[in-house]
Amino acid sequence: MGDTMFGDLASVRDGLKDVDYLADDGIASVVFLAEKLGKPVLVEGPAGTGKTELAKSVAAMTDARLIRLQCYEGLDEAKALYEWNYKKQLLRIQADRGSDANNEDWTDLQDDIFNDEFLLTRPLLEAITAEEKVVLLIDEVDRVEVETEALLLEILSDYQVSIPELGTIEAKQIPIVFLTSNNTRELSEALKRRCLFLHIDYPQLEREKEIVLTKVDGISDNLAEQVARIVRSIRQIELKKSPSVSETLDWARTLVLLGVESIDVEQAKESLHILLKYQSDIEKAAKELTVEG
C-alpha cells in the first residue's frame, strides 16, 4: 500500500498507548504489518486478554469507524454480507402495476429492483463500501460453522464482495480487519493462510502492572504490583478458568473502592469471587494462598 498510516513500529506502540492500550512488541509489530501488507489479523487467545479491545483501540488510534460483526452459530450471508430488501422490491413491483406503464418490459423492472437502493448492507459489505477509514472487527469467528467460514474468504483476501445480480463490489479503501477467536475449534487452513496470526496470552507481570496502573484510577504503585503478583500466582494454579486481564482490572477497582492499601490474605480471600467465577476454583485458590508456597 502506498499511503502509510503508521510511520514505524514505535509510533504504533505509542499510538496505542495514547488510547490506553498497552501493546507489547509482538502486538505492535503485527498491527504495524497488518496495515503495511493490507492483510487481516487473526487474534487468538484466552478470553478476556484484550482481543476485542485491541481492535477498538486501533480504531480509536487511527480515527477510523469500527464496524463489528459478532459471529454466532447459524450466522448466514443475509446477516453478514448483504440482503435484498424484498419488501421494498415487492412494493416497487406493486406500484409499477398500479400505474398504466404496462408497456415497460420486465428486464427494465428487473434492473430497477436489483440495484443499490434495494440492497441492505450488512457489516462486511458496509466495511468495504465505506468511504472513510474503517476497522472491521469480526468477533469470535470460531463460533460459526466451518461452512460459513468460507463466506469470509473472498472479502479477506481480495477485499471484494460478489453479488450475483450486481457483479463484484470492490473496496474503496482497504480496511484493517481483525478476527478474534477463543480457539474453541480449529479454524480452516484457508482462513488462516489469508491472515496474519497473533496470539495474545496473559501478560507478563510488568505489563499487567502497567495495564492496571493505566486503567484503574487512583491505584497506588504498590497495590498494582501486589495485584499483578497475586494474579500471576493464581494463574499458576491449575484452575478451570484462570483470571483474565479484565477480571484483574475489576479486582483492582474493587480493592481501590474498598480503600485497601496493601492486600493481606484475608482480604484477598474475601474478594476472590471477583477474580474467579467457579466455586471450586475459589476454594482451591483460597486454600493455595493460605498454605505456605
Partner: protein, 476 residues
C-alpha cells in the same frame, strides 16, 4: 538474505510446521517493512506470517534462535574467526566488578565470585548483569570443547549443577526476609518466592540460549537445527510424553471434547424430521380449506448419547492411562451421561469419583488409590475384566450407548473373552477401540487386538493428539 530465508522455511517444514507458499511470500514481504536490525520485530514478523498455531510457537522459536543466533548487534559474542570474544566481555565485566567494589576479570573469577555476582543480579533483577553472568557461567562451568559430540543438555546440566540454583533460591529468600522490616506474611513470602523462581527461570533460559549460540558457532546451523528438532505437540507420543508435554496435551484435550460434544449435538439438531404429526397436519390444513397440503412432522426426540468408557490402567499403558483418565474426565463434563470403568485384571466403576471431584488431579488420585482393579496379581487380564464387566454392567448397555475401550490388548496370554465385545457390540449403538500402540506392534507378543477388533465398529491407533482428533472427526 533470500537463501537464509528459504533455508529457514525448509527447516520449519522439517520441524513439521505446515508452511505454505503464500505464507512464505508473505513473510518475505513482511520483513521488507521491518528494520532488519530490530531482532524482536524481525522475529515477530516471521512468526505472524509463518506460524498459524500457538502450539507451534515453541518449535518456531527454537528454529529461529538457531538460524539467527549469530546475527544482531547484541549477540556479538563471537568475532571474525568464530572465537569467543573474551576481550570485550572481560572489559565489560571488570567495569561491572569495579562498580560493585570487586576486581579482576572473568578469567580469574572463582566460582564463588560468580555465584556472588549472580546472587546480586537475581536480587536486583538486573537483566544485563544476568545475561553477562550466564555467559561467564557457561565459560567457566560447561567445559565446552569444539567438535565434541555431546548434546546441549549435557552442557546445560553441567552448568546448572555448578551454580546450585536451589541453594541460590534459599539464599534469596533469606535476604528478602532480612530486607523487610517486619516478618513477612505467608502470602508475601509466597509472592516473593515466585518472583525469584521466575528470575531463576529466566536465567536458565539465558544459559540455554548461550550454550545454543556456542554450539551453533561450533557445528553450523543445519546440524544444530537437526539435533534440536522435537515433535510438535500434536505429534507427541502419549506413551513417551515428558511432564511438560503432558501438560500441553491436557490443555488440548478440553477443546477436543467440546468439539466432540458440539458435533454430536449438531448432528442431533440437523437430523431428518420425525414421523407424521397428524394433529398438526389437520390444524395446518384449515388454512387451505381442509386440504392437507402441507404435512407436519413431529420433531425427533433429541437423542442423548450415552458414553461408556472402559479403560485399561495397568502398568504397560501407564502413561497412556494418565492421559485416558484426563480424557474421561473431560468427556464427563461435556456429556450428560458418561459411565467410566477402569480395569487391570479386575474391573471397577469410577464414574462417581469423577463426578464428586471438581478437581482432576484429585479425581485421578482417587482412581489410582481407591478403585478396586486388582483381582489376582495386578497384571492385565482383559478376559477376566471383561467377564466382570459383562456380568455386572452388561445389562445396562442399550441402543443409545457408545462404548469406548481404551487399551493395548496385551493380555498376558490369558483367555480373551472376546465374546464380551461381540455381545456389547450387538446391544450398543457403536463400539470403538482406541489402542495406544503403534499399528506395527499390534498382534505381536501377547497383544490380541484383532480378536477384539473383529467385533468393534472401529479400532484406532491413538498415540498422539493428531490421531485422537482424527478419531473425533470420524465419530462425528
Amino acid at each position: 538474505m533470500l537463501d537464509l530465508m528459504s533455508g529457514f522455511v525448509v527447516e520449519l517444514r522439517n520441524a513439521g510446521l505446515p508452511v505454505s507458499l503464500t505464507e512464505n511470500l508473505d513473510a518475505m514481504e513482511a520483513v521488507k517493512h521491518i528494520p532488519i536490525e530490530d531482532r524482536d520485530a524481525f522475529k515477530y514478523a516471521l512468526a505472524t506470517t509463518l506460524v498459524k498455531n500457538e502450539q507451534h510457537w515453541k518449535a518456531f522459536e527454537t528454529v529461529f534462535e538457531v538460524y539467527f543466533s549469530l546475527r544482531g548487534p547484541e549477540y556479538n559474542v563471537l568475532d571474525e574467526d568464530g572465537e569467543i570474544d573474551e576481550d570485550s566481555l572481560e572489559e565489560w565485566m571488570s567495569q561491572q566488578m569495579r562498580g560493585m567494589g570487586g576486581q579482576g576479570s572473568s578469567e580469574d573469577m572463582s566460582p564463588e565470585e560468580i555465584a556472588e555476582m549472580l546472587f546480586r543480579a537475581l536480587m536486583n533483577a538486573d537483566e544485563a548483569m544476568m545475561a553477562a553472568m550466564a555467559r561467564a557461567a557457561v565459560t567457566q562451568f560447561a567445559g565446552m570443547e569444539p567438535g565434541r559430540p555431546v548434546g546441549g543438555t549435557y552442557y546445560l546440566y553441567r552448568t546448572l549443577r555448578n551454580l546450585d540454583l536451589d541453594g541460590m533460591l534459599d539464599r534469596l529468600m533469606e535476604q528478602a526476609q532480612e530486607r523487610s522490616e517486619e516478618d513477612m506474611t505467608s502470602l508475601q513470602e509466597r509472592l516473593e518466592r515466585e518472583e525469584f523462581e521466575n528470575r531463576i527461570e529466566d536465567l536458565k533460559k539465558e544459559i540455554e540460549a548461550e550454550i545454543r549460540r556456542r554450539l551453533v558457532a561450533d557445528r553450523g546451523v543445519e546440524a544444530m537445527a537437526k539435533t534440536l528438532r522435537k515433535p510438535l505437540p500434536e505429534d507427541v507420543d502419549f506413551m513417551h510424553a515428558s511432564r511438560e508435554e503432558m501438560a500441553n496435551i491436557r490443555k488440548a484435550i478440553q477443546p477436543l471434547t467440546r468439539k466432540l460434544a458440539a458435533r454430536l449435538a449438531r448432528k442431533r439438531k440437523h437430523k431428518r424430521r420425525g414421523p407424521l404429526d397428524f394433529r398438526a397436519t389437520v390444524r395446518q390444513s384449515l388454512s387451505y380449506g381442509g386440504v392437507p397440503a402441507e404435512p407436519r412432522f413431529r420433531n425427533p426426540r433429541p437423542n442423548k448419547p450415552e458414553l461408556v468408557v472402559v479403560a485399561d490402567i495397568s502398568g504397560s499403558v501407564a502413561a497412556f492411562a494418565r492421559f485416558t483418565l484426563h480424557l474421561v474426565y473431560a468427556l464427563q463434563n461435556q456429556f450428560s451421561k458418561v459411565r467410566s470403568f477402569v480395569f487391570i485384571d479386575g474391573l471397577d466403576e469410577v464414574t462417581h469419583m469423577f463426578q464428586d471431584e471438581e478437581d482432576i488431579t484429585n479425581a485421578v488420585h482417587r482412581v489410582n488409590t481407591e478403585a478396586d482393579v486388582v483381582w489376582v496379581d495386578g497384571h492385565s487380564d482383559y478376559g477376566h475384566a471383561f467377564g466382570v464387566f459383562w456380568e455386572n454392567y452388561g445389562a445396562e448397555i442399550n441402543s443409545k450407548s457408545t462404548v469406548m475401550f481404551l487399551g493395548d490388548a496385551r493380555n498376558n496370554y490369558h483367555a480373551t473373552n472376546a465374546w464380551v465385545v461381540k455381545e456389547t457390540a450387538k446391544k450398543a449403538r457403536s463400539v470403538f477401540w482406541l489402542n495406544p500402540e503403534p499399528k506395527s506392534y499390534w498382534d505381536t507378543g501377547d497383544s490380541v487386538i484383532t480378536e477384539y477388533a473383529t467385533h468393534a465398529d472401529g479400532v484406532f491407533e491413538c498415540r498422539n493428539l493428531r490421531q485422537l482428533e482424527g478419531f473425533v472427526d470420524h465419530l462425528a
